[in-house]
Symmetry: C2
Subunit: 425 residues, 2 copies
């Protein structure tokens, strides 16, 4: 017997980079990890969560409801609170399309929503347009499903629309447009770059996608992954793609309560137009017929009692402080020839090394950093396999999310030392 019984998807699915990063973390007990996308431990709402769960778990029908199966789509009140909150964030009128609780689904973090959407839309060989670079766990989903990704360049205000148009045009010429299903956009304080795509660019992207639908033969969706939206600590908020007039039926919006509130609860959500909503709801039924009702009741009470908003303010101040500490340390310790940008939100600073200096897993920089007990995410991991360009390999994602202030200072100082040793001025 030579073959395994695995499916094509099962055989294809590669080991995710995160298990390699985990392995390194475990193998280096004194490691300072600037790699993990963890949230800040000290500001996790432990006391609030205990109090809110006491409220959710009062004896009798209310507590029983929290411990019983709930609807597959999620708790109706939580879906309403979610849709209402999003409409308010977007400053949209009550009657605006796209903010209906009826089309809101609760998921296990927004990660599950990304998975369900990919399953609902993409066959092996299909093409997803992604930012170049993008969220590396999404690349694992795409790899597992046998998808081809095409990277769209990023400017400081987000997606490069000219590059998007050129890519769509080139796909049209090659007869590949019918295989394109969506543009995946991490629109706020992007993982890994920290870049936010402006509202004007979201509108522009939607118009471009629409223009190519005829040649595609089907809708071309914008999947807006707004995971970091609420982790904004400076600058104005940007409206979501749902607010672009006339395009609500092309926007797949995913968000999460994991990062802004109780990370370990893993409650995310998606707002979706038909026919995608119905299909995703059916798939969710097959996956798990509904996210844990208990953690949904936690979020519902947090939102209703105003504890969510209150916690978020404190959290935004905390990340502002952590970002400022990292930015100050980078400014002080990194060579001037390393390019980076101060983030306005999220958890990440993205740095680009000069010249031909590499940052990948086999590079001197990575190995020396590890020898000094510092781990970062090599930028290389965040790029799709795109035949149109070689994979960039000179960037670093460094996170201020999970590390303590002291570890941020020490970590950046040591990383600076490594870089200064390798970069001649």
């Amino acid at each position: 017997m030579t073959r395994s019984a695995l499916s094509q998807l099962g055989q294809r699915t590669a080991d995710p980079p995160i298990s390699w990063l985990m392995h390194l973390t475990l193998a280096h007990p004194h490691l300072i990890s600037l790699a993990a996308g963890f949230t800040d431990n000290e500001s996790l709402p432990v006391t609030e969560t205990r109090a809110l769960l006491e409220r959710a778990l009062v004896a009798g029908p209310i507590g029983q409801k929290a411990l019983q199966y709930g609807p597959t789509l999620g708790d109706l009140r939580l879906r309403e609170l979610t849709a209402d909150r999003l409409r308010a964030l977007d400053g949209a009128p009550i009657a605006a399309d796209g903010y209906s609780a009826k089309h809101t689904l609760i998921s296990n973090g927004s990660q599950q929503a990304l998975y369900l959407l990919t399953e609902a839309l993409c066959d092996p060989g299909d093409i997803v347009l992604v930012e170049d670079p993008t969220y590396f766990v999404y690349l694992s989903i795409a790899q597992s499903h046998g998808l081809r990704c095409r990277g769209i360049r990023l400017d400081q205000d987000g997606l490069d629309l000219q590059c998007l148009e050129e890519t769509l045009e080139s796909l049209r010429r090659d007869g590949e447009l019918p295989r394109v299903k969506m543009l995946y956009l991490v629109s706020y304080y992007q993982n890994p770059t920290g870049v936010t795509t402006s509202f004007a660019k979201k509108a522009g992207a939607l118009k471009l996608l629409k223009k190519y639908e005829k040649a595609a033969g089907h809708p071309l969706y914008l999947l807006e992954d707004a995971a970091y939206r609420e982790l904004r600590f400076q600058g104005p908020d940007t409206h979501s793609a749902l607010a672009v007039k006339g395009f609500a039926n092309r926007v797949l919006y995913t968000g999460t309560y994991s990062k802004p509130f109780a990370t370990g609860a893993r409650v995310g959500f998606a707002l979706l137009p038909e026919p995608v909503f119905t299909v995703v709801a059916r798939l969710k039924g097959n996956h798990d017929f509904g996210t844990s009702n208990l953690v949904q009741q936690l979020l519902r009470h947090a939102l209703e009692a105003g504890r969510y908003a209150h916690h978020l303010e404190a959290l935004q101040r905390r990340y502002h402080e952590k970002s400022a500490v990292m930015v100050a340390a980078v400014r002080r310790h990194f060579p001037k020839s390393v390019a980076w940008q101060e983030p306005n939100g999220g958890l990440y600073v993205w740095a680009k090394l000069p010249g031909r200096l590499k940052s990948g897993p086999k590079s001197k920089v990575f190995k020396l950093a590890l020898a000094h007990d510092i781990l970062y995410v090599p930028g290389w991991l965040c790029y799709a396999d795109d035949p149109a360009r070689p994979k960039p390999d000179s960037e670093l994602r460094i996170s201020f999310g999970g590390a303590t202030l002291d570890n941020i200072k020490t970590g950046i100082a040591r990383l600076g030392e490594v870089l200064n040793g390798l970069i001649r001025p």
Copy 2:
């Protein structure tokens, strides 16, 4: 534009029967549902859960851990407790294969484990052997993935091994064995029939599957879905297929803490051999990179503090009582010509109507029952589309899980009235 952008899976995935049942429930506000697979509301451990979460959410690192991301595979201690508990239930020695925490994965209920396993093993057109009848939500997973199911008859002590052998033999003759991936067995107090497959029959099934592996060209797995195992209220426990010597590398075991403890927490698990374990772990990373850590800490504390075992004893007594009430009512109110069997565990009584009387959604029985505000699950829904036989349509799944004692009595009395009106003595 005529086409949708949906994937083949997305287009194929049908509306699940559960949404139709839900719709009927909402449309009949006075309905007594004997259809829902809900657990008993009154015995849900509301007070215990509150106390256990207080313990999990103490200020400082312990509480922070519960609210942070955890490992994709699940909390290590919970995986150990799970594997140990299972080994103890099976009376297996410490060194026995198949009970390793390393090969235990925590999932969002066992439903997610069923989904992950199907994804890992099955391509469209592949064949899964299922009990005839079987768990209807599994049939939705199979339908969505474009799988073909073949039904294996059930005796009172479980799977009919002769039917299994004949089916395998017929698939071999037709050259279809390479498309067979596994036998899906709901082994304890089966949903929907309440039947338990004996240990001897599990061993027999594993041997038969092994015999046909050469012709299949790959391993043929036994997927043992033990969701109802701990809801045993009379009769001896049966060891799992993991305890069959020499076959641990062919058993995929799934279980859940949802039904025996906190239903709304949705914590399940799978014990899997390689290479399936590694693939399922990767897929779990792509799905949601780990079940909510908060609900995992709840289960960990419940198991460690003995609250789980304590609650389970009370729960078993409670279901024994509810089952007895249903059984007494069925004995009193159903016509003698209706066949049924007293369950030893689980949540269901399965009844077979005499002669040509139908029980399906369009039948007189179903419509009259609904007119009397009684809902049951038509047995028809629990049968795979198997070209080898017409779909049986004269059975009812009636659940004592979610209904109150009064509703069980009233519900069965009314259902009996409907049946007596249609069945001439």
